[in-house]
Symmetry: D2
Subunit: 269 residues, 4 copies
């Protein structure tokens, strides 16, 4: 016999206002993706929210956790192989499980993680593993499903103004480029393509492994390709508009080597 | 005789797209405010941006720094006493100096800092200094000036659901409430009033100093006033709508004592 | 024919002082562990350092990166299955590859990551995945190999002082317990056992998934088991001294629900 | 008549182990310093701990808060002008108030804040305000008082290896230098001198304000003065050993512009 509990969440609240986003955040758990035919485990951070109607006091938080847990469980190994082929598919699978568990009009699942991609170094052609911060959000409202994909890429800028005034010498620094694309769920946008758009827009891409000839190649490329953060932002923006549908947000921040503060360029399209 | 430099910023860029936000960020410097008749020094973090038209390659970053430096300099001690009576007034003073230095259509100044307010403890009536994270943004576009004020307040939630199911026992935790108001610059909104709205919406306010009778008073108040994050968010929202003009954003995050993750409630009005 | 490069690192420095720790830090890459018979992928953060003798200007940083890259490469799938059965074994494998690449007297490899362990919820016996921050360091100096293991566990404290003064009511909050053990490499110490020591020392363990009967069980346990951070620190310390060899460091921080600051208790043994 | 409360802290604990560090941390409050004849307000973060003997269950946390609050109160304006002429003096004043309030054998006060110093730009001689993260700890054990001073300075490195292999071209990046000095309280060591030691050891100092001639001067200085993090660490170390008594710790981290990770050099003396 099941014990009966008071369901405070179902009561009428004193203040009857609907809330569009109620849920759990900063939840870290194990997840699996079938990426290009191989199953990878990783540990993303989740945020899951649903809307709360005006006449209910609260949502049942544990059902949101169960939607993730279920979608990750060993029992569904087969499902992982078939369906979780991207972070977006994983987020959608969590929303689908949530639909069986908790009534709502609107649901959002956000997954934040680090992606490691294989690159070849520019001169010695060695394999280098490159890390990228990525975030994917899937928002379902009624029958309409949208997605937001974000990437954060570490590159560099060589200042064209200092170069013009110092006979080719200039200040160089690490810069971080962010690109965000929001579109219908079914549109084809990949995190890898977005990373490529940002990484190719700096003075030079950066690499985890660089032997001396590779380092020389990166150094020369930076001097041949001096850029303000403004130039980097514009280049990301124009490439992203050509390549991706939907709304675009670009932000470039440069950790200036001659200042203690950063410089920023930001745009929307 | 002045040396002549190449002004790379003034050149035509290869990619001719206007950028709405270009400038400096994460700049920490000393600032002064005449708050209720006394001049206080503090060290905020600044972000200043202007728009970049399509036909210019870059902005002159150092002029943005000078706008802050000038507005802070010793020479203007008198100006501080008269004009910088709030963070918004300080931000506007920086924009006004920027107008003499760098042509633009749109300028934003954002100032992030910690505010310390004096409170009386609830039972022993001792003085307690309470810290609050605040941020103020002033956005000038043509003749139109808008402002955004943000406060972040540390409080707590005592769970009403666990209380109903455990004969008055429940889990309690630290919670963080954020309130953001965006309105015309001339509307009357103070950070102190916004802090009060958030702080009074938790199960109880928190205090830096609590002697045993004060601690007892806070503990009892939490049990008399159990709240979900949903309840806290709704209460902030309804109070803010009554008290402040403009657009409102509310976010409450609770650092659950029974979970390793957080719960969240968020709304806009 | 191989191009000849200048090896600036091998030159004599102007200031001839040996440096005990020179290397790379904050390097994120993909790693693999054979944990209890299954190969898991994850993305840790690495720090690798070696000593620099007084007569050399610098170390060859890329060889440190290669030591990681080699230890992770696909080609060594078999090695992973046999050898990388823990983070410490992985760290040692990186040091062993480094020994073939770069002369040194002392080498350190530090690996930081998140561990997900399976727990059963206390009443409904459901599976819950729990995240823990862990760090492992292996230090080789001549023939001597030492290791440091660190775990960071999220739990809670229910204040016994407020409970005694408020007829059983009290303030409760999230608390974070850290345990660090430094010992010879060959001593048997597992991160799982260390996590268990910390997690069992709070007022109650915490769970990612809690259905109502589980939540009730956790709430009741907290009230039956009130603890200061001092009590938690002492309990971790006494259990760790019984269970683990070597040097022990304990730190407990409580995110007070009645204050805006935290409280701390710290000890060494 | 004073209400009587149960003092749980004074009870015997179950586990009788002394704890060397128990107290409050991450407490932000307003503080005042009489620096070179002028009273400045600022908002540091405090950590205060005392030792807990084996036979007591806990410490009285509120007395630690009162020690800070008292030392900051308006009533002692005169004391500030006379005594709080440095962060160390402020920390000692807090310890002295603590001695009247709570019995202990060992007390520590740590104060973390940002210091703004005035510098002149290298070519145009304009005033520039530079921010530095600093931390001061005062530890009193019996009659013996020691202090630890830490500074964190943002500078840069221009790589000598890439410069030698690329006809004077090289990669440049922001670097962060940390210096820590631990000595008897009465030894003369100032944060300003420590900052100067670190800042002068980079390829070039950095400035918040740089007009074009200043920027050119910094750029040229970086190319005339290429340095590995190893070189920066050695130079800080040798200067610090000449200038300061006591124990020294140096750490330099460079945010490489050609990599996504950082490089590090660390030493003790």
């Amino acid at each position: 016999m099941r014990e009966l509990f008071i369901e405070t969440q179902e009561k009428e609240p004193e203040i009857k206002i609907p809330l569009p986003r109620v849920g759990i955040t900063n939840l870290r758990t194990i997840a699996k993706i079938n990426w290009k035919g191989r199953v990878y485990t990783f540990i993303p951070t989740f945020e899951i929210t649903i809307d709360l109607p005006r006449e209910k006091k609260g949502i049942h938080m544990s059902r949101l956790v169960e939607s993730i847990t279920d979608a990750m469980s060993e029992a569904i190994e087969e499902e992982v192989k078939k369906i979780h082929t991207s972070l977006e598919e994983l987020a959608l699978a969590v929303i689908q499980r949530l639909e069986e568990k908790h009534r709502h009009k609107r649901a959002e699942v956000w997954i934040r993680t680090t992606l490691i991609l294989e690159k070849m170094t520019p001169a010695s052609n060695k394999l280098s593993y490159e890390p990228y911060d990525v975030e994917v959000g899937v928002i379902k409202e009624g029958d309409k499903i949208k997605k937001t994909l974000k990437v954060k890429v570490i590159g560099n800028t060589a200042c064209p103004h200092a170069m013009a005034n110092n006979e080719g010498k200039t200040h160089i620094q690490r810069a971080i480029g962010e690109l965000e694309v929001t579109t219908d769920f079914n549109e084809y946008v990949t995190l890898e393509d977005m990373i490529e758009v940002v990484e190719s827009s700096f003075s030079s891409p950066t690499y985890t492994l660089l032997k001396t000839p590779d380092e020389n190649s990166v150094v020369r490329r930076m001097y041949e390709n001096p850029k303000f953060v403004e130039d980097v932002a514009r280049e990301i923006l124009i490439k992203a508009k050509k390549k991706f549908p939907g709304k675009i947000h670009v932000k470039v921040v440069s950790n200036e080597s001659i200042h203690k503060h950063d410089v920023i360029a930001e745009a929307w399209a």
